[in-house]
């Protein structure tokens, strides 16, 4: 545990001192600029539109921070040669993978909290009780979304270059957000061997769509029932644990 905490602390220090920490602020300015445009049009329809795009923007921007940050952790350890003195110490390779994952999730979660806070301040100034619960759920889902994103990117980073990793993760994200429903329908409607193939693909792909509460939030629908929250949480835990397990295994076999 102390080893993981040590890795996380190192990542934080590095982030705070690196100039590319400001990327976070630039993205924040994008968000602020967009959201503050709302105050000029105080009409019902527009504010719904603002919620819709505001939420999408918050998720997308935190996703960008999360993926780019997670993707370069292990490759940069290898490139700088710091993996060697690290792995010469009494820690397993899985420990390094887990430490990098934890650090990336924490940093993404902090970023997300900032962005989400700004979003709520602008778009939900007078939220009712139901809406408040839905917002809390969206916040939790956002953190879980970033955890899955980070686990996936850390997993890819064991065998892909950073740029390939980022590209693939983004493709998967847009695919899942846009076509997950279609894929599910195809799995449910199909027959025989090809459905089996599709089914495997459907269940293995990271379901970023599970965490997307955009529509519900925009239309101020009721909060999710508790069992859905529990199911999605279980999904996140299992999916992340699985990815980290395989990442540790693959990294363990990697020739350094």
């Amino acid at each position: 545990m102390r080893a993981i905490a040590a890795i996380v602390r190192g990542m934080f220090l590095e982030l705070l001192r690196k100039k590319d920490f400001y990327v976070l602020f630039i993205l924040m300015l994008v968000l602020l600029g967009f959201l503050s445009a709302q105050t000029f049009f105080d009409i019902e329809g527009i504010s719904r539109y603002m919620r819709d795009f505001g939420y999408t923007l918050v998720m997308l921007l935190s996703f960008i921070v999360c993926v780019t940050f997670s993707a370069r952790q292990i490759p940069s350890e290898i490139e700088s040669g710091t993996v060697y003195p690290f792995l010469a110490k009494p820690v397993s390779r899985s420990m390094l993978v887990s430490g990098k994952f934890c650090g990336a999730v924490m940093i993404s979660a902090i970023t997300f909290t900032l962005y989400f806070g700004v979003f709520v301040l602008f778009c939900f100034t007078e939220a009712g009780r139901a809406e408040a619960i839905l917002l809390i759920q969206s916040f939790l889902f956002g953190i879980m979304f970033l955890s899955v994103a980070s686990a996936l990117t850390v997993f890819f980073s064991v065998f892909l270059t950073t740029s390939a990793n980022v590209a693939i993760t983004f493709l998967i994200y847009f695919f899942m957000i846009s076509f997950s429903d279609l894929l599910r329908d195809a799995v449910l409607a199909g027959k025989g061997i090809e459905t089996l193939g599709l089914g495997v693909v459907y269940y293995l792909l990271p379901h970023f769509d599970f965490f997307d509460l955009r529509v519900r939030l925009t239309h101020a629908w009721d909060p999710l029932p508790l069992w859905v929250v529990a199911a999605v949480t279980a999904y996140t835990v299992v999916y992340c644990a699985g990815l980290l397990f395989f990442a540790g295994r693959l990294f363990g076999r990697k020739k350094l």
Binding site: A5, G10, G81, Y84, L87, A88, K89, V91, L256
Partner: protein
């Protein structure tokens, strides 16, 4: 005397198929406890490969090796090993103090002991004045000093150094020799690879000469220096052995 490192018929190849390259072709070596062991050989001889195997970073393909009687791939075995790599560009945005603190945490060293030890080590390698600076501002030699300091953070019983003197000034080299000798005096073991044969000559008790993945010679340094009756430098002996093996 008990042995700290035991290597038996060790082979190691990189790559596979046509690209396969045999870096180690049957190495057998024993390093006893206490003493300074120089591991010599020309570029590409397999020194770094052997060291990576000793640290469990690579796994043996054929043959066996043990360190402190254990398998290096098991983390616990590495508890009392200190390692200074050939090349490492340590986290550029951290200070040396932060780096040592992070590594101390990984070893699980008591926090109270750790802070004192970090100051001592930074003082010893002569960078305590720059202890608060980020390492991206460091010269090559300063980074080497940090690298040496981090290898000592766990007060190791076995110190493995891969070409430690590169980029170091004569004062720092002398300091490093003193540390190696003081470790030997405490009955600890130092295993180091080097091309600086004059350096090796000054401190080693035993040496092994490696070429193309095989151990050509292993024994007491004093024995090699007086092998031909009259006194010889290590460099002279080394060249003779390597050139001899290239011809034969």
């Amino acid at each position: 005397m008990e042995s700290v490192i035991e290597i038996r018929d060790l082979f190691h190849a990189y790559g596979a198929g046509k690209k396969k390259w045999e870096a180690l072709r049957g190495i057998t070596l024993t390093v006893k406890k206490g003493g300074i062991f120089g591991f010599l050989g020309p570029n590409g001889a397999g020194k770094t490969t052997t060291i990576k195997l000793l640290l469990g970073i690579l796994t043996p393909q054929i043959g066996t090796l043990s360190v402190f009687g254990g398998i290096p791939a098991i983390p616990r075995t590495r508890m009392k090993i200190g390692y200074m790599p050939e090349i490492a560009d340590y986290y550029r945005y951290l200070t040396p103090g932060e780096l040592l603190y992070m590594y101390g945490d990984i070893f699980g060293i008591d926090r109270k002991i750790l802070t004192g030890r970090i100051n001592e080590l930074l003082e010893m390698v002569g960078i305590s004045e720059s202890a608060g600076r980020q390492m991206r501002t460091f010269s090559r030699g300063m980074k080497q000093k940090v690298s040496f300091a981090q290898a000592l953070i766990n007060d190791p019983d076995l110190l493995i150094l891969d070409e430690p003197t590169g980029g170091l000034d004569p004062i720092a080299r002398k300091k490093m020799r003193e540390v190696m000798i003081s470790l030997r005096d405490k009955n600890k073991t130092v295993f180091f690879s080097s091309h600086e044969l004059s350096e090796v000559e000054l401190v080693s008790d035993r040496v092994a000469i490696l070429n193309k993945g095989r151990v050509l010679k292993e024994g007491l340094l004093s024995g090699f220096l007086s092998a031909k009756g009259e006194k010889q430098t290590l460099e002279g002996y080394f060249l003779e052995i390597i050139e001899g093996s290239e011809k034969g």
